[in-house]
Symmetry: C2
Subunit: 365 residues, 2 copies
């Protein structure tokens, strides 16, 4: 077990808001961005929480993320919109885009909003879940940094391109699918590397495109751009249907990057010929579907509850004790961490303190 420092969500959120404000981000945008980060920590998705604060700080300082972007709606119809994020933070524009898709779905049954020229938007599930309080089905996708090797490929060409869908329920907790389309995220390799453990064959490939158990080598290859990377859901080749995970990753790239005209595949995070980073030009895809357009919400919610109970109450595999519904673990973790605090990695917590000193922002966690 690595060293942990317990912090409270509210204080952590306030600290992040102050950091963003100090970097000239308008208060409303600072709040949304802090919310998305701390929500990840509350849900137990530590890789996407304040562990990433440094990257946002650096992005704002380097000017690849703009505190005052010239965001604009490029195209809009009754049910669709395309927003250019102007190289701003990914979270505020995504919050606005998802709200817009919800408004459209309220009026017209469905709403789809795509975003281009954006940055890392945090956890995909955050935006999908925004539809829940309106009793609608929410969807969110994004392309991402290049880490995933296509089936039969040698080099990473796609991102871990997540898909998130949230569906309202009655008595049961909402269904919240929030999944990278790779078998595992990069962070999982980092954990195994720190513990000096072999990773299972099927998570990643070496620089020749051959499956490997050597996490350190894969991570090292990323840094040196030697080739290889994470495998899509289903693993290497077609034996366990890795081509399906690859297909899902590609689909996300199409909907969230090609459709809005953002950078796609391995053209994201461009650099100048001198190696200076330019804005990432990521793209996102947000969708909302009204349930009431198809059937009354109460009946839908009761059926969702029945479906969930049917799955959870079905017999368990030998040595298994519980069948989960997607989002359930994260809801339980949120309850635990809201009550007991968020166990931050000691290194992450030390970096927050470093940021506090560098930016002269009060650290009171």
């Amino acid at each position: 077990m690595e060293d942990k420092v317990i912090v409270q969500a509210k204080a952590l959120n306030a600290f992040c808001v102050n950091v963003f404000e100090k970097l000239d981000v308008p208060t409303a945008h600072a709040k949304v961005t802090a919310d998305v980060l701390v929500e990840a920590d509350l849900r137990g998705i530590d890789s996407h929480g304040v562990a990433r604060l440094r990257r946002y700080v650096k992005g704002l300082q380097d000017g690849v993320m703009l505190a005052h972007p010239k965001e604009k709606t490029v195209k809009e119809t009754a049910t669709t919109a395309l927003i250019d994020a102007g190289a701003g933070l990914g979270q505020p524009v995504s919050d606005r885009a998802m709200k817009l898709s919800i408004e459209k779905a309220k009026k017209y049954g469905t709403g789809f909003v795509t975003v281009r020229n954006s940055n890392h938007y945090g956890i995909a599930g955050y935006y999908a879940m925004m539809a829940l309080k309106h009793d609608m089905i929410g969807m969110s996708m994004t392309n991402a940094d290049v880490l995933v090797v296509p089936t039969f490929g040698r080099h990473a060409v796609l991102g871990t391109n997540p898909i998130a869908v949230a569906v309202p329920t009655g008595q049961e907790r909402p269904f919240v699918l929030d999944m990278a389309t790779s078998t595992v995220p990069r962070g999982k390799l980092e954990v195994y590397d720190r513990l000096e453990k072999e990773v299972p064959l099927g998570w990643a490939t070496d620089e020749k495109g051959v499956p490997t158990t050597d996490a350190h080598r894969v991570l090292d290859n990323f840094v040196a751009r030697r080739g290889g990377g994470l495998l899509p859901l289903g693993g290497a080749g077609e034996l366990f249907s890795g081509h399906k995970g690859y297909g899902l990753a590609l689909l996300v790239d199409i909907l969230s990057a090609v459709l809005p005209g953002a950078a796609y595949a391995d053209t994201v995070y461009p650099k100048t010929p001198q190696g200076k980073p330019l804005p990432a030009n990521l793209g996102h895809f947000f969708g909302t579907n009204s349930v009431e357009a198809f059937r009354p919400i109460d009946g839908f919610k009761s059926t969702m509850d029945e479906l969930i109970c049917r799955l959870k109450n079905s017999p368990k595999a030998e040595e298994a004790t519980r069948i989960y519904i997607h989002g359930e673990k994260e809801y339980e973790e949120t309850e635990r961490r809201t009550k007991d605090g968020i166990p931050l990695d000691a290194k992450v917590e030390a970096d927050l303190r470093a940021i506090s000193r560098e930016l002269n922002v009060k650290y009171d966690l």
Copy 2:
């Protein structure tokens, strides 16, 4: 290599139309149903082609599939519709539903149509691909017969619930993802069983919910309803993210069954207390998204071509020679089989002849 009989698509299609007509299916519906079946054979998805003709014949004879269903549009808005298929064949209602979703997308940017009280609709990709000639993005999903075990479960509760998405391109072949959300379909186990080969661990579980290499046992357990079944994409447990495949299967069940109010999870294909089959009450989900709502179609198509070339031209893994785009193999197979004929399994061909004799339909393949 099993015995094959070469038949021509056109003659096969005509035979299927005659069979359906003989069973009192109206000509227009007979044509669509035959088209969907033969298209599967052309694309090389033999499990979903005329190998299933017997099941449709039996379904129509038993009255669980109606030749003259009372199909009706239960609810409709500008962008959405819900159709009750009246226990008719899955193909004609799905063809109509997808056309309706395309019409809506032409007018309003997006269109979603769900169907309940339906039957097996053939290959999911057929309907998604209908959007291509309108330069739109098509989507199709359905729930299906109960074969898939949820993560940590012992019994199959979900179907192989496929997801199909088709995206238009310029010079390159369209992107057509058409994937079951299980690691492999049941048919793959049947092939291994015939060859008396062990299946890889990660495809299926035994009756205790434990991964097994014994295909025969899994198939036998299906018949005897002893438990176990196919594993979701990603395999058993969470090590290779089987919970993601399970989540996708569940998502398809929600969108195609819970949303229209069809039978969901393992409530599909109900029977009377005496064991007599009742209509399957399957549900489908069709969607169309206009590209032009976001960006001009020409630019979109060029970018799709660039993305595809980028992937295909990227370096290959050791011992690999080619990176595929989804749908590519099926387009090539269609070209081959259109030219050289469809190699039907000898047993399947013998059954077609048996159907011809039983129904007194001319067999001239």
